[in-house]
Symmetry: C2
Subunit: 381 residues, 2 copies
């Protein structure tokens, strides 16, 4: 999930301010030990990071005490309850305020932390994030964005939504395009990202009605929002190089990333099998080990771990439920980098300026947006 540091915008960290990440110790498949191991990895690589850790305080304090590197950079917030993977979002919204997940979000809401990380239940985390942090003005459906290994020079593409909401109308898809462009600009240092709208073909007559409508809307806002719209793209372009940001509804996006993960994992297994096949192929695997490790690093899901919730007042990174320590550390690094770049504030400014434009353009004169370019915010958001 994390872009390499050299792909991040070259922007100084705010002077004298330690970046604090609020971490949900609970809710991942492997328990708090792995989360704390991930924090230790992050702290080792990055001495400027601080943590607020949420969960059963006594247990967590004992686990943290075993990691010398974490001494002095973790504070604790006791939370007795845990959101499980089986809990329904609607239930959690009513009864979830004693959980570590809710506590994790309140640290961001109250300004104690610059971003939040949780490995827990995605649906519940999104529901609680909306409840706790509130949507940005002008956003009706927040989205989850992931980075996806691609042929592009930056090695990754952004895709959203990958599962915040199973529905998206044309307006939502426009907002995803705006938020995705902002994320690509701040997270991957692309001044003018190329946006593609996912469909079953690249011809303009193909696909569902809301996609044809979204095609027109996104094209109209490309100039104001400083992105290039490449039109419809197909599933094969998600890891391709025709677009930097792939916009789709959360149902399709979720199926697509899981299909990609499943395909990569099957190929990996078959490759290992192929190398075990004969003495000659076993020898070959020894000779090629460095190259193969480099390849694995390039496509390892635990290194691209973390979906960012876009469209909220604050940064929330959802780590994979089955993440190992490296995966947790990647998610923390992403939250850190986004906090450091001031992404959340930039995105809010961008959405606010474009939402006003969109409203003008859509409610009054359909062409009004075209003459409104002076309202435009800075090109970095």
């Amino acid at each position: 999930m994390t872009a390499k540091p050299d792909q991040m915008p070259d922007r100084p960290r705010p002077q004298g301010e330690r970046i604090v990440i609020s971490v949900d110790a609970m809710g991942g498949d492997a328990g708090p030990g792995v989360v704390i191991a991930g924090m230790a990895q992050s702290a080792k690589k990055n001495p400027d990071i601080g943590f607020i850790l949420h969960g059963p305080e006594d247990t967590l304090k004992k686990l943290v005490a075993r990691r010398r590197i974490l001494a002095g950079c973790v504070s604790f917030r006791d939370a007795a309850d845990v959101v499980t993977m089986e809990d329904k979002p609607s239930h959690v919204m009513r009864h979830g305020k004693s959980t570590s997940m809710w506590s994790t979000l309140t640290s961001v809401r109250d300004g104690e932390a610059h971003g939040a990380v949780s490995c827990g239940n995605t649906g519940a985390l999104m529901a609680l994030s909306i409840l706790c942090l509130r949507r940005l003005p002008g956003i009706s459906r927040p989205a989850i964005a992931v980075l996806w290994p691609s042929r592009n020079p930056q090695s990754f593409n952004v895709m959203l939504d990958v599962g915040a909401d199973v529905r998206a109308d044309a307006q939502d898809l426009l907002q995803y395009a705006l938020m995705g462009a902002s994320y690509a600009r701040n997270g991957m240092n692309l001044p003018r990202p190329r946006i593609g709208l996912l469909n079953v073909g690249t011809e303009e007559h193909k696909g569902r009605p809301e996609l044809k409508e979204a095609h027109g809307l996104i094209a109209r806002f490309a100039d104001q929002a400083h992105f290039d719209f490449v039109g419809f793209v197909e599933g094969r372009d998600i890891p391709g190089d025709v677009a930097d940001v792939i916009v789709t509804d959360g149902f399709t996006g979720n199926v697509a990333i899981k299909t990609g993960e499943g395909t990569a994992s099957l190929i990996g297994e078959l490759l290992r099998e192929a190398f075990r096949y004969s003495p000659l192929s076993r020898l070959a695997s020894v000779l090629a080990i460095t190259s193969l490790r480099r390849l694995q690093k390039r496509i390892d899901p635990s290194r691209v771990n973390g979906g960012v919730f876009l469209g909220l007042n604050g940064t929330v990174v959802k780590s994979h439920g089955g993440a190992d320590a490296t995966g947790v550390s990647s998610a923390i690094k992403l939250a850190f980098q986004l906090a450091q770049s001031g992404f959340s504030e930039r995105l809010a400014a961008r959405v606010a300026s474009t939402a006003a434009l969109a409203e003008d353009a859509l409610t009054a004169d359909p062409d009004a947006g075209k003459t409104n370019q002076n309202n435009e915010g800075g090109p970095k958001a």
Copy 2:
């Protein structure tokens, strides 16, 4: 796309009858030369095959004359026009009767051929197939089914729909389940295939309303139609081993297969790059060449080439537009195998018996279907 011969049902070919495949020479990206090269490959492996070839007769005759193996097993039908990849299906339906694609389908409709193969425009081929061959009684939306490399013992899973129609309601998804089960039974010799319904999670409360409704419908028909329903599955299960048949709407299915193809192709490129990296890794690739070729064969898209159109009076196999000779030959082999197994007739019988059941169950008593098992057709369809 093709199952291995040992995975096909062990059923004798009808005595004294040559299986004839109607082939569209035109409309593929590489022109008629590649199609004819594919036919030659098929004829070499399978002397019991005959062809009817459609397109500009003079040109085709010259190309076929160069392949000695095809002597005496090809007849020609002259067709002056070609459906291009850019033609809209609606246009082709009105003006397409002079095309090689239409001519190819008429040979199946008129009983001259046992199945049709075309590399052309998918939307146009589906539209003309519906017009020429007509839907099976009880089917409202025909579907395109593909085989997909998987962890299952049969090495492939069936997925449908992958793009015949961007919409599908609960009834359509039920029909896809029935047709997919029939295809898995006849194409992969699985007496009781396991059906999964694609969603964003396996919990029953997740997903779109039509999926929840389809979940109930498919579960209700599992026993009558001799399949096991494993409930909701996710993108990662498409190449997995929890289900043999993945049911979804044509929009999601199309994005999923193209994402899988794109991911596999990116990994293949990166792997070749990794092996070129150093003298040591180049030596390794030489030592591992046999194992790597075996792996490539297992996941090569041109060997799993061909979507089968289900729900029509006749077998139509859509080969990839960019297929090479091996790809065309795979598609022809699939059409041959399905014709040999009498799949089209079996599917028609199955759909007819279940459609009647479904109507009873849905219009009268919601529980009526459960007591109707005696109406059931043979377990092979």
